[in-house]
C-alpha cells in the first residue's frame, strides 16, 4: 500500500491542511517510510482477537440530566479570532 502524490493531496484535503504541489512528493516519501514500517503488523496473527476499545475495564459513567453549565457567552467568544454580534464569524459559506 504505497501512497502517491494524489493520495497525499486527497488526505491533506480531508485533514484540511494546505500542502503545496512541490511538497507533495516529499510528503509522500515521508508517509511511505512510516507506512512501510508499520506494515510489519500484518505479520501478527490476530484471528479471533477483539480490537481494544478501552485499556481500563469500566462502565461508561453517566450524569444526571440537569442544566449545570453554559450561560457565559463572553468566555466562549473571548478567544475567537472573529466575532460578530455574539456569533463566531467565518468566511462566507455557499451551500
Amino acid at each position: 500500500m504505497s501512497v502517491d502524490k494524489n493520495t497525499v493531496a486527497k488526505i491533506a484535503n480531508l485533514a484540511r491542511i494546505a500542502v503545496s504541489e512541490d511538497e507533495l512528493e516529499a510528503t509522500a516519501g515521508e508517509l511511505n517510510n512510516i507506512l512501510d514500517w508499520v506494515e510489519q503488523l500484518s505479520q501478527v496473527n490476530t484471528d479471533g482477537v477483539e480490537p481494544m476499545t478501552s485499556v481500563v475495564a469500566a462502565a461508561l459513567p453517566m450524569r444526571e440530566d440537569k442544566v449545570t453549565d453554559g450561560n457565559y457567552r463572553d468566555q466562549i467568544l473571548k478567544n475567537a479570532p472573529a466575532v460578530e454580534q455574539g456569533f463566531f464569524a467565518v468566511p462566507k459559506v455557499i451551500e
Partner: protein, 494 residues
C-alpha cells in the same frame, strides 16, 4: 395500489428511505450540562465542552440514553444492551470539534417493523434499520453578512435520535404516513416534541428509481427537510428528475442535495461536492455504553399508552367508532384533550363513560375540529375551555338544549367566550319539553294547514318534515325534538 411512476419509456418504481433526526427531550445536552431550551440568545447555551475548547471531554446524559430506549420500545425495535459511540470526522463551521459523536457500527437500538395506514385504508409494513444517538451541530447563518457566515453553537451537542428506515417506501404517501407514524410515536413516548418548525424533527430523504423488479438504483440524499409537505415535494420532484435523467440516457450521481422551497425542487449542495470520508472510529473519550435488561424492562413498564393501544381501547371501552378513534389518536394532544374532556363530562353529567363517549368524540372530531380548522388553531390553542365544553355537552345530555341549539351555543361561545349556561339563559334557548305547550302549538299548526294534513294522510309522507319544521320554527328551535315527534305522530297517524 399501484405507485409506479409513468415515464416516457415505461414504468419506474421509486424507492425511498428516510433518516429522521428527532431531538431528544432533555433538560441538558447529550455530553454537556448546557441547556437545550429553544430560542435563546446566540452562543449563550454553550459550555466549554459544546464549544470544543482544548482539553474538554464528553460525559453522557443518562436521560438521553433512557429516551433512546423508550423510543426504541415504542417502535418495537431491538434494544442493544451494549452500544458504542464513534466519531464522524468532517470539517464544518458549525461543527466545533471537527467531528460529530454518533453511533456507527453498534447503535443503541436495532431493527424493527412499523405498520402504517394509508389513505385508502390499506396498511404497509416499513422496516426500521436502527436508531442511534448523536450530537446535533450548531447553526450557520449565511444571510446575515455579505461575506461572512455567522455561527451559533446553542444547538451544538443537543441530543438527537437518528431513526433510519429500510428503503421500504414506494411513494410520497407512504413516506408521509411513515413520518407521521414516527412523529406520533415519539410524541406519545414523550421522547421528542415533534416540533418541526423549531427543527426538533427533520428528515434526510433518500430517493432512487428503478425499473420494477430490477436492482436498486443510485440514490440521492436530500438533507434536512423540515416539513412533511416538503418531504413529499422532494420525493415527487426527485423522482421526476431522476427518471428524466435516466430516460435521456444519463446517470444519477450519488450526492447530497438541498430542497429549495421557492421552486419546490432539489439541487446539488455546492459545499458538499467532494466525496465524504468520515473516518469513523470509536470515540476514545467514551467507554462503550452498557446497561442491563432490567433497565429496559423498567422503562417498558413505565411506557405511556401509545396510539394504537389507545385507539383499540377507545373502540372497545368507549364504544367509539373506529373512524373517530383513529382521528382522535392521530395526535397525542387530541387524544389527551378528548380524554380530559370525557372525564370532565362524566363528572358533570353523572353518566357512564360508555354512555357519553360517542357524543364527546363526535363533538371533538366534528364541532371542535371544524371550528379550530376555520380559526387556524391547534388543539392546545382552543378558545373554549375544557370546563365550558363539558358544560355544553352536559346541557345536551340532560335535555336542556338540543343538538342543533348546541351548535348555535358553541358558535356563540367561540365569539363571546361566555359559558354555555350563561348563553342559554341570556338567549332563552332552553329546550321546550312541556307536552301541553307543544301540543297546543301542534293543534294550531294542523288547524292552519288542514289541506296539507289531508295530503299527508293521503300518503304524501314527505310532508311530515314540513310539520316538524313548522313546530320548530314557532318555538325558535327550542322544542324538544323527541317530544315534538311523539306528539306529531300521535296527532297525524293516531
Amino acid at each position: 395500489m399501484s405507485s409506479l411512476f409513468q415515464g416516457a419509456t415505461g414504468d419506474w418504481e421509486v424507492v425511498i428511505g428516510l433518516e429522521i433526526h428527532a431531538q431528544v427531550i432533555s433538560e441538558s445536552k447529550l455530553f454537556s450540562g448546557a441547556s437545550t431550551k429553544f430560542g435563546a440568545e446566540p452562543n449563550t447555551q454553550v459550555s466549554f465542552v459544546c464549544a470544543a475548547m482544548p482539553g474538554m471531554l464528553p460525559v453522557i446524559n443518562e436521560e438521553c440514553v433512557r429516551q433512546a430506549v423508550r423510543t426504541g420500545l415504542a417502535m418495537g425495535c431491538q434494544i442493544n444492551l451494549r452500544s458504542v459511540f464513534d466519531r464522524k470526522n468532517y470539517f464544518y463551521a458549525d461543527l466545533p470539534q471537527g467531528y460529530q459523536i454518533s453511533q456507527f457500527k453498534d447503535p443503541i437500538v436495532g431493527e424493527g417493523m412499523l405498520t402504517v395506514e394509508l389513505e385508502d385504508g390499506s396498511t404497509k409494513d416499513i422496516g426500521i434499520e436502527r436508531l442511534h444517538l448523536e450530537q446535533d451541530a450548531g447553526k450557520s447563518m449565511h444571510d446575515q453578512h455579505p461575506n461572512m457566515t455567522y455561527v451559533d453553537l446553542n444547538r451544538s451537542g443537543v441530543a438527537l435520535m437518528e431513526i433510519v428506515s429500510k428503503p421500504d417506501m414506494r411513494s410520497a404517501e407512504e413516506a408521509g404516513a411513515y413520518f407521521r407514524k414516527i412523529r406520533s410515536l415519539v410524541r406519545y413516548a414523550g421522547t421528542c416534541d415533534g416540533n418541526m418548525d423549531q427543527g426538533s424533527m427533520r428528515a434526510d430523504v433518500n430517493v432512487s428509481v428503478r425499473r420494477p423488479g430490477q436492482e436498486l438504483g443510485i440514490r440521492t440524499e436530500t438533507k434536512n427537510v423540515n416539513s412533511i409537505r416538503y418531504m413529499m415535494m422532494v420525493i415527487e420532484s426527485e423522482t421526476r428528475r431522476q427518471v428524466d435523467v435516466l430516460e435521456a440516457g444519463g446517470t444519477i450521481n450519488q450526492e447530497t442535495r438541498l430542497f429549495e422551497v421557492a421552486t419546490g425542487t432539489t439541487r446539488t449542495m455546492r459545499s458538499k461536492e467532494e466525496a465524504h470520508d468520515y473516518r469513523y472510529f470509536p470515540d476514545p473519550d467514551l467507554l462503550p455504553l452498557e446497561f442491563t435488561q432490567e433497565l429496559v424492562d423498567e422503562l417498558a413498564a413505565q411506557m405511556p399508552e401509545l396510539a394504537d393501544a389507545k385507539k383499540a381501547r377507545f373502540i372497545k371501552d368507549l364504544h367509539i367508532n373506529a373512524y373517530n378513534a383513529g382521528v382522535l389518536v392521530a395526535e397525542k394532544e387530541s387524544a389527551d384533550y378528548f380524554e380530559t374532556l370525557l372525564s370532565a363530562t362524566v363528572e358533570k353529567s353523572g353518566k357512564a363513560v360508555s354512555e357519553v363517549g360517542t357524543l364527546v368524540s363526535n363533538w371533538v372530531t366534528g364541532d371542535l375540529f371544524g371550528a379550530l380548522k376555520k380559526l387556524g388553531l391547534g388543539i392546545n390553542q382552543s378558545p373554549v375551555s375544557i370546563a365550558h365544553a363539558a358544560e355544553l355537552i352536559t346541557l345536551q345530555i340532560d335535555g336542556t338544549i338540543s343538538g342543533r341549539i348546541a351548535k348555535e351555543v358553541f358558535e356563540n361561545m367561540l365569539e363571546s367566550g361566555k359559558s354555555p349556561e350563561t348563553i342559554v339563559e341570556e338567549k332563552g334557548l332552553r329546550q321546550v319539553s312541556d307536552t301541553g305547550e307543544i301540543e297546543a302549538m301542534i293543534d294550531q299548526i294542523l288547524a292552519a294547514n288542514a289541506d296539507k294534513v289531508e295530503e299527508y294522510r293521503g300518503g304524501k309522507d314527505k310532508l311530515y318534515g314540513f310539520f316538524v319544521g313548522q313546530v320548530m320554527k314557532n318555538t325558535g328551535g327550542k322544542a324538544n325534538p323527541q317530544v315534538v315527534n311523539k306528539l306529531l305522530r300521535q296527532k297525524l297517524d293516531g
